[in-house]
């Protein structure tokens, strides 16, 4: 059974207590930012900010809406980062979290390029840099606690539980309050499903969520990598065969010429 979190944008009040709780639990330093004319702060996630609330001013069906969306690692069911990582420093655990092991990482940043949600970040300011991203509080979960952001959320916008149960609950919330939500649980199917699930009153594209197909991004890579052993054997055999054939043709021609020479000398 794998754990998940359901985020309900209609319940979020944009207090950003989750951001603070995340920084506290993960002992992350604060970042200096400047006033950009919005309550949304900091502007981007970074190696020192694993989660943030994105503030979107949206016009939907003629109405103005101020909608919040929590951004953090989605903890995919088929994570691109875990397939990308050549040393296996990123791994999907059975319980849900995609965890990172800095004792293996070599800092190639392929995970950052591969992630369809743009989540893993890098300690650019550090001469000894590591990748950093939301851990889904795997350490807290191991001790039977909820993730720090969920624990601190004052309005119940974040709900932690079994993924299947949360998908069912999200479906029920959509069905029982027609018109309150768009009929879409973001994360249920996106890139093969994620451990973070979202409900929103407006289409997700308007909140800056990427429109993704339901096929895991790892499918084509898996197929290509599956072809490696047969290609290895095939190319080796083909080259050996060609070498042998051409070699043999050369020898045959030589014997023929030798025979001719013998005849001539006769």
């Amino acid at each position: 059974m794998s754990k998940a979190v359901l985020y309900d944008a209609t319940k979020c009040i944009g207090c950003r207590a989750c951001q603070v709780a995340c920084k506290q639990w993960n002992e992350l330093p604060s970042e200096e930012t400047s006033n950009r004319g919005t309550y949304e702060n900091p502007p981007k996630t970074s190696a020192y900010t694993f989660t943030k609330i994105r503030f979107s001013e949206v016009e939907d069906e003629g109405k103005f809406q101020w909608v919040f969306a929590k951004v953090q690692c989605m903890h995919c069911e088929h994570p691109a980062c875990a397939t990308a990582c050549l040393v296996g420093a990123l791994q999907k655990t059975e319980n849900g979290p995609v965890v990172y092991d800095d004792r293996k990482c070599i800092g190639c940043r392929y995970c950052m390029i591969a992630c369809p949600f743009g989540i893993p970040n890098f300690q650019w300011d550090d001469p000894l840099p590591w990748i950093r991203k939301c851990t889904f509080c795997g350490d807290r979960q191991g001790g039977g606690f909820k993730p720090a952001c969920v624990t601190t959320c004052p309005t119940g916008a974040l709900k932690f539980g079994e993924r299947e149960e949360l998908v069912a609950e999200a479906r029920e919330r959509i069905d029982t309050a027609p018109g309150k939500y768009v009929d879409h649980i973001y994360g249920e199917k996106e890139v093969g499903g994620t451990s973070w699930l979202y409900l929103s009153p407006v289409p997700f594209e308007k909140l800056g969520f990427p429109a993704l197909s339901s096929e895991p991004v790892t499918v084509d890579v898996a197929r290509a990598m599956g072809a490696v052993p047969p290609v290895l054997v095939g190319v080796a055999a083909l080259m050996t065969g060609i070498y042998w054939l051409i070699q043999r043709r050369g020898k045959m021609r030589q014997t023929k010429d030798d025979d001719k020479e013998v005849e001539v000398t006769k």
């Binding site: 397939t83 990308a84 650019w124 990598m225």
Partner: protein, 395 residues
């Protein structure tokens, strides 16, 4: 002639200066970290070093395995004189790729982790393994040149060792080495394409296709001989040795055929996916697509098939330059320009990134120049065991 001799020190001193600047920049990078020396960011984590040094570098070094295959497996003896320079260039190319990665990696001192922590599902793991193994293969393939030279050196310490023994060993395993080189190259040239298969959502559909690994391999096979043509023409001018027209025009014809196959694959693939209209509609990415196709594929195919081009070393040289430029364009497109990674980030390389890349290229040029002066690169005794057989056969 006098002028040529005098022009050497200028060239080498410029190269040496570029090497020194590159070295200093590298030291700065290790002291201050990647953030201070590059314009890379969370939204653009890969930049010039990956697009140019890794993606272009590996493809442009494909002359090593293609020429080794043509000469030692397919026994096209006339290309023998360009095979050894091609192998040397490939060896230097791969060494540079590894050096560039040591600069680009966040924790280069843990590169050896790739050897002990395996993720066999990662295309990058395959690339890393193959590049390491192939660099070793290339070193062995090139080593006869060093042993041949050492066996001629008249110094007491060096003369005491019988250099013909390692020479004989390498020659005995030459064919297996060449085959290993072809296998490893097939795998990692294509796997560099597989790496991009992880980005179906971010790489423009003009380039994203499940057959990307095949396109990478075919374009590498095309650009390998083009690079050999390019380099051997240059080195024949610099070092004043002759380069037969039959060799260059033969290479040109082969390149044209492979590029034709490449173009066919690209178009059929776009049609099969129903995305052919994108070449007209997907502005501005379609301009990049047309750029790489026209410069590196269509124009070279047309030019290489013109008899007037095929009879001129100079014209063939410029066609090869086009093929190389087109490939560089393509690799930059797929690994940088057509990749919409995260919104709100822009990237243009920092001057230090340029300095490191330029320094590494200058390294290779200097070593090539030294090798051509010190080692038997172009004219050397024959190391194809059955060439004698073939020659008597053709009498």
């Amino acid at each position: 002639m006098m002028q040529r001799i005098r022009s050497f020190p200028t060239g080498t001193s410029i190269l040496s200066a570029v090497v020194v600047i590159g070295l200093i920049t590298m030291i700065l990078r290790y002291i201050n970290g990647l953030g201070a020396t590059t314009n890379l960011s969370d939204g653009r984590p890969w930049g010039l070093w990956i697009s140019f040094d890794l993606y272009c570098g590996v493809a442009l070094a494909a002359g090593g395995f293609t020429l080794a295959g043509v000469v030692y497996i397919f026994r096209q003896e006339k290309y023998h004189s360009v095979a050894r320079p091609a192998i040397l260039t490939a060896f230097l190319g791969y060494t540079l790729v590894i050096l560039a990665l040591l600069v680009d990696l966040g924790q280069p001192w843990y590169l050896w982790h790739a050897l002990i922590y395996w993720n066999v599902h990662s295309p990058l793991f395959e690339v890393a393994m193959c590049v390491m193994a192939y660099t070793a293969v290339l070193a062995l393939e090139f080593s006869p040149a060093v042993f041949e030279r050492l066996s001629e050196v008249n110094l007491p310490i060096i003369r005491r060792f019988n250099w013909h023994i390692p020479l004989r060993i390498i020659r005995a395993i030459q064919i297996p080495l060449v085959i290993a080189g072809i296998v490893l190259s097939t795998l990692h040239q294509s796997s560099l394409g597989s790496m991009l298969l992880l980005m179906p959502e971010t790489l423009s559909p003009l380039w994203y296709t499940p057959i990307l690994p095949i396109l990478f391999l075919v374009s590498a096979i095309a650009v390998g001989p083009a690079m050999v043509l390019f380099e051997s023409t240059l080195s024949s001018r610099v070092f004043g040795h002759k380069l037969g027209l039959d060799i260059v025009s033969g290479l040109g014809r082969a390149i044209a055929y492979i590029l034709g196959l490449y173009l066919l694959l690209k178009l059929v693939d776009l049609m099969a996916r129903g995305d052919l209209a994108l070449v007209l509609t997907a502005y501005p990415h379609n301009l990049l697509w047309w750029g790489e196709i026209i410069i590196g594929v269509v124009v070279p195919i047309i030019l290489f098939s013109l008899p007037s081009v095929r009879q001129s070393n100079t014209k063939l040289f410029w066609c090869a330059v086009l093929v190389v430029a087109g490939l560089v364009f393509n690799r930059f497109n797929v690994s940088m320009l057509a990749l919409d990674i995260r919104p709100g980030y822009t990237y243009f390389p920092h001057w230090m990134e340029f300095a490191v890349s330029a320094g590494l290229v200058a390294d290779a040029l200097l070593i090539t120049w030294l090798a051509n002066r010190l080692l038997p690169i172009v004219e050397h005794e024959d190391d194809v065991p059955s060439k004698a057989v073939l020659e008597t056969g053709s009498h």
